[in-house]
């Protein structure tokens, strides 16, 4: 269906917003002449709209808009604070003796626990940040195949693996970063075949392909490394305060900021811990530990049970005489919930035992309650830890 020239002219004026009454009348007369005319008109408009869609879908443009939206939104911390204030106020009101509510709240309480347990387990996606700054969200439940920055990346069932293309240009090395948030867990196979199990609230930065002389990665948080053996190319894990240098081995690096100490636990092979001034060798079954805020000289090497420190990668957490405060930090890294100690003295109680990630949050708290003479209760979605 051909559109007469003057109709094109009118549509272009209409889009500009300068259509006068006279031309408006001409347009509606033409539109009413036949349904074909109307169709052709809608088609031209849809082409015009497609232009807008192209603008709106542009990644750079979207990033700009998103930043603008975010800057107008309230910050998360502020809302949590207010929320805790409200929760505290609510608990005070309850203690003041609204006894009639207690009966109903017991029933509600069970439903509330179920809801909290359910939310605690929801799937957490991870974020892959490319060297271009583009962020890609990956999740266990969706398989993804990406072709970016010279690498084929496969994301499947919680494992990301890198395959470099044959024709790859060795001069172009792109640094990618995998960010695993609270409650998340993800595994990655790097370009050299090294497998890294990354724990919750941790980040690993690595090149999409390694150069000819050295393999370097940067870790924040905790990860278990199974390094592909290659005597020609040492593998170095850079972390806050020290580096771990290996040729091929299995070991766990824990550098969480909220832990009292950072550790490297060696399962087999050998590793060398390096700081600016000093270095130490580690043997299998031993653990290097450095207290927060202290320097490398005061670090220690002790014989330990490696299972205690590496079982997390298989979905089990072991605790050997740790304080309740540390326990809650570690559990809340795995599950999604907010908590609050009713009494600071409770934080110092010691706990020994294990939990499975599959376990229900309610079950975990019941076990801790039995062992430790504490009580977990709910105030809305906030978990309160108090004396029994």
């Amino acid at each position: 269906m051909d559109i007469p020239e003057f109709i094109y002219d009118i549509i272009i004026e209409e889009q500009e917003g300068t259509l006068n009454a006279e031309n408006k009348a001409v347009l509606s007369k033409w539109l009413n002449e036949s349904s074909k005319n109307h169709e052709a008109y809608l088609e031209v408009k849809s082409i015009w709209d497609a232009g807008l869609v192209l603008k709106l879908q542009d990644k750079d443009y979207q990033n700009t808009v998103w930043d603008k939206i975010k800057s107008q939104a309230p910050s998360r911390t502020r809302s949590i604070k207010r929320w805790i204030q409200i929760s505290v106020a609510a608990s005070v009101a309850l203690l003041a003796g609204v006894y009639a509510l207690l009966y109903y709240s017991k029933i509600e309480n069970e439903a509330q626990w179920a809801k909290v347990s359910e939310l605690a387990k929801a799937e957490v996606p991870v974020k892959l940040v490319l060297s271009s700054g583009e962020e890609i969200i990956l999740s266990d439940s969706i398989e993804k195949y990406l072709d970016v920055e010279g690498s084929n990346i496969q994301s499947k069932k919680g494992v990301i693996s890198y395959q470099n293309k044959k024709e790859n240009n060795k001069d172009f090395i792109a640094y990618h970063e995998l960010i695993v948030s609270k409650r998340g867990r993800h595994d990655i196979q790097l370009a050299d075949g090294t497998v890294v199990n990354i724990n919750s609230e941790s980040k690993l930065k690595y090149p999409n392909q390694f150069n000819d002389s050295i393999r370097e990665v940067w870790l924040t948080g905790e990860a278990y490394f199974s390094v592909a053996h290659n005597p020609q190319k040492p593998f170095i894990v850079h972390s806050n305060g020290f580096d771990t240098r290996v040729l091929g081995t299995e070991f766990n690096v824990n550098t969480y900021n909220d832990e009292k100490q950072n550790t490297v636990t060696l399962v087999n092979g050998s590793v060398k811990l390096i700081s600016k001034a000093d270095s130490k060798m580690l043997k299998p079954g031993y653990q290097f530990s450095i207290k927060k805020g202290e320097d490398f000289k005061s670090s220690e090497i002790n014989k330990i049970d490696v299972a205690l420190y590496t079982a997390w990668k298989d979905g089990i957490l072991f605790f050997d005489n740790i304080t309740l405060e540390q326990l809650m930090i570690r559990i809340s890294r795995w599950y999604n919930f907010e908590y609050q100690f009713d009494d600071d003295l409770l934080k110092e109680k010691l706990y020994t035992g294990g939990i499975k990630k599959k376990d229900d949050l309610t079950k975990i708290f019941r076990i801790i309650e039995k062992v430790n003479d504490v009580k977990f209760s709910l105030n809305d979605d906030l978990i309160i830890i108090s004396n029994k």
Partner: protein, 179 residues
């Protein structure tokens, strides 16, 4: 890259509101603006309305209770209500509002990825000056006068180039069987 499913988006929202909202934004922003634009007849205002809605979503806990199949209707209804409120507040614009177009808009037939891709590729193949005019006006949404100035041509020449572009893009669309 494929957009996330609504089931997935809702599960992310419950976990991490900020990340969830980002996914909603990536999937729905363009569609919602097009929808709002049909009501408002002004792409800029349409974008403002949709952006405001996203800012509001940060404050509301309503999303937490939403089932996945309710997400899309909820977003469209929110945008429509915001648009109507905006119109009420700016009574002057009343004349420009075409409420009839709201009916079909939700279906968004023209928001056909395949068609958008064909148009995008066809734009790349247009003669250079035609392509520039089309990109500046239809994609970047520059004002006619600004676009003409930046190309050092008269506004009438710009309109001529736009007409040329529309004709060629339409012909390209017809040469491809969309079914």
């Amino acid at each position: 890259m494929r957009d996330s499913t609504d089931e997935f988006i809702i599960s992310v929202v419950k976990n991490d509101k900020s990340q969830g909202l980002r996914l909603i934004f990536e999937k729905y922003y363009a569609m919602l603006v097009i929808f709002a634009q049909k009501l408002m007849k002004d792409a800029m205002v349409a974008e403002d309305i949709v952006q405001d809605m996203f800012v509001k979503l940060w404050n509301l806990d309503y999303l937490f209770h939403l089932k996945s199949k309710e997400l899309k209707p909820y977003l469209y209804t929110s945008v429509r209500n915001a648009a109507i409120n905006h119109i009420k507040r700016n009574a002057k614009q009343q004349n420009n509002v075409d409420f009839l177009s709201t009916e079909a808009a939700e279906e968004n037939e023209l928001f056909d990825e395949e068609k958008i891709t064909i148009i995008y590729k066809s734009i790349q193949r247009l003669p250079e000056r035609t392509r520039m005019a089309v990109e500046k006006v239809m994609i970047e949404r520059q004002k006619y006068q600004d676009a003409a100035d930046s190309m050092d041509i008269s506004i009438n020449t710009l309109k001529y180039l736009l007409k040329d572009g529309l004709k060629k893009l339409r012909a390209e669309l017809h040469s491809v069987d969309l079914d």
